[in-house]
């Protein structure tokens, strides 16, 4: 279990963490997802004790490791916190063999040499590096280095594991397989872990829950479905690449709920809240379909209320197996489709296209902090 309560940290004038509060449950893997510079690494450094927060409390397995207990200020040293830390860069000790790297933390416990060796070897076995024990870090690949770093961090039997973008430095070809490898290792360990990343896919693959972080605080915490289907702020939606708008409800005499986005009227699911407030509207790009004209409807959608809008294609971005098409329908809307569908539709930038999305694919919530960007 890891718990942070109102943790704040500044470096000089620069506020890096403000009122940071979140909890990782026992044996849960939580991804801390956010752009570079939002304070992810600072958070890990505070939990590990490498840096001291200015304010707030940090608990590791119910033990207060940082903060105030009565009038006493507590700041446990990194080695007393029972945390393991896998760094972003290759932080293996370059002058030691892989086995010595892994044994480093075990030796601190003053065990007999043979026990140290046996344990280090079993950890190397666990991460699949048994035959690399006598290699130096510069003799093995990036992926192997990070697995060795994981083994090294486990040497002290940590109760929680902190991973700072452990895969980001690995060659892109290997990254995908490394994700699954790391995930299965972490699952086997059954350990409480925080996995820091700026990569959504990585967060989705690795973790039980995701905490989206922005400018020194948590914006939203939830399962992958919570985050993707119901982003709670413009910031989160934009970071996840989801269509996000603010709109006002329009009173419709027919009884159907309608919203006004940038002057365009669209149908919306029934709204519980008053008509006075602004609403935050999000639609996932994969829920937005495109067709050459408005008479072609998705047969599965019969019976659903559906928004059908005509627009002009502004931009087509091709990814590995998907394409992202931005259409201007009075407001920009992104649609994600497979490359084969894109080919079938024969779409091109500047052409007109029909945009369709189901009303119940939209997530509409009252905008909580209208002042926040």
């Amino acid at each position: 279990m890891i718990k942070l309560e109102s943790v704040a940290k500044s470096f000089g004038e620069k506020v890096v963490l403000r009122e940071l509060t979140f909890e990782v449950k026992k044996n849960e893997i939580l991804s801390l997802l956010g752009p570079n510079g939002c304070g992810k690494t600072t958070t890990l450094n505070a939990i590990s004790g490498l840096s001291k927060p200015d304010e707030g409390n940090i608990f590791v397995n119910d033990v207060l490791v940082d903060g105030k207990s009565g009038s006493k200020t507590i700041h446990l040293t990194p080695s007393d916190r029972k945390v393991g830390y896998v760094f972003q860069t290759n932080a293996l000790f370059p002058h030691m063999r892989i086995l010595e790297n892994v044994a480093y933390g075990i030796k601190a416990k003053h065990l007999p040499k043979r026990e140290v060796n046996t344990k280090a070897r079993s950890l190397l076995e666990f991460v699949g590096l048994r035959e690399y024990a006598e290699y130096f870090p510069h003799q093995i690949s990036g992926g192997q280095k990070q697995r060795a770093a994981l083994a090294r961090s486990l040497a002290t039997d940590p109760e929680v594991l902190l991973l700072d973008e452990p895969i980001s430095a690995v060659h892109s070809k290997l990254r995908e397989s490394m994700r699954f490898e790391f995930k299965s290792l972490l699952r086997t360990l059954k350990i409480t872990a925080i996995y820091v990343t700026h990569n959504l896919t990585e967060a989705l693959v690795m973790s039980d829950r995701i905490a989206v972080m922005g400018k020194g605080q948590i914006e939203q915490t939830g399962t992958r479905d919570d985050i993707l289907n119901k982003p709670n702020s413009k910031y989160v939606a934009e970071f996840l690449g989801i269509n996000v708008y603010t709109g006002k409800a329009i009173h419709d005499p027919s009884g159907r709920t309608q919203l006004d986005i940038n002057g365009v009227k669209i149908f919306a699911p029934p709204l519980a809240d008053s008509f006075e407030t602004d609403f935050l509207i999000t639609i996932k790009p994969e829920d937005v379909t495109l067709s050459p004209d408005q008479h072609i409807r998705n047969p599965k959608w019969s019976g659903c209320t559906c928004n059908i809008l005509m627009g002009t294609i502004v931009e087509i971005t091709l990814m590995r197996s998907m394409a992202r098409v931005t259409v201007d329908v009075g407001f920009p809307i992104k649609s994600e489709l497979t490359l084969s569908s894109l080919g079938d539709l024969g779409l091109a930038e500047g052409e007109n296209v029909c945009v369709q999305f189901k009303v119940n694919a939209m997530n509409v919530s009252p905008r909580k902090n209208p002042d926040k960007p």
Binding site: G84, F93, G105
Partner: protein, 251 residues
């Protein structure tokens, strides 16, 4: 090309100027032998002492933040740019019997000028900044993530220092040691001003060369050649040390 010749011709000239028939007898010249022994001894002591004082200082400067750090950092660099003669004057004003600390030294019966200790002090004053510089850079260049990894794995700061920080800085520190040694051995101005030129007591190799050039030029040449050979081997050692570095920040 002209520039390369400008540097290499004088070096060559020293070796060409040596009369081979006299060279071996010069190697038995007691004044030369004394100068070599004294030079090696004093510079070795000065280097070891510099190491002992400069490495911890460098570590503090590289890893800690404290008020006045920039000022201290600058002061420690002054000897590098100071003309050695000025360094000698400064040392006299501080440590001579009538200097700032003179009364204190007198009270414990220590008269520095004209003593071998003065030679060592002059060499340290002039040369220790080299090791301080290189050690500081070495410590600063060790990837902080590597140090942090170690701190999480062990509670002993000493263990982190001796098993991680220091080994990863060794090459650069050693190259600083070499530079300090070379500089100490070649020290002339400050030694002359502060310690004097007394054969067997304060007369190191450069001081002997200075004196011998008038009295016995062939002896001066042989000694010069020995010093060049020495400097050259130190340079090679430094180059070899700098070739392979690991554990420093990259990408």
């Amino acid at each position: 090309m002209i520039f390369i010749l400008f540097i290499s011709i004088p070096i060559l000239a020293v070796f060409l100027g040596i009369d081979p028939s006299q060279a071996s007898s010069q190697l038995r010249n007691p004044q030369i032998l004394n100068a070599i022994t004294l030079g090696l001894l004093t510079s070795a002591i000065a280097t070891v002492a510099s190491f002992v004082f400069a490495v911890p200082t460098a570590y503090l400067l590289a890893t800690r933040k404290f008020p006045g750090k920039a000022v201290i950092d600058t002061i420690m660099d002054i000897p590098i740019v100071l003309p050695p003669a000025v360094a000698g004057v400064a040392l006299l004003l501080a440590f001579a019997p009538k200097g700032l600390l003179g009364p204190l030294l007198n009270s414990i019966g220590l008269t520095l000028p004209g003593s071998t200790i003065a030679v060592v002090l002059a060499q340290m004053f002039v040369a220790s900044p080299f090791i301080l510089r290189s050690a500081k850079t070495a410590f600063e260049n060790v990837n902080p993530d590597i140090i942090n990894s170690a701190k999480i794995l062990t509670d002993s700061h000493l263990r982190v220092f001796f098993t991680v920080t220091l080994p990863l800085s060794t090459r650069q520190i050693l190259s600083g040691v070499m530079m300090t040694w070379a500089r100490s051995m070649g020290e002339f101005g400050a030694t002359l001003m502060f310690a004097g030129n007394l054969p067997g007591i304060t007369q190191t190799m450069p001081l002997a060369i200075y004196l011998l050039l008038a009295q016995d030029p062939s002896a001066a040449l042989v000694l010069s050649a020995i010093m060049i050979a020495f400097s050259f081997s130190i340079l090679i050692a430094v180059k070899l040390l700098e070739q392979k570095k690991y554990g420093v920040k990259h990408d």
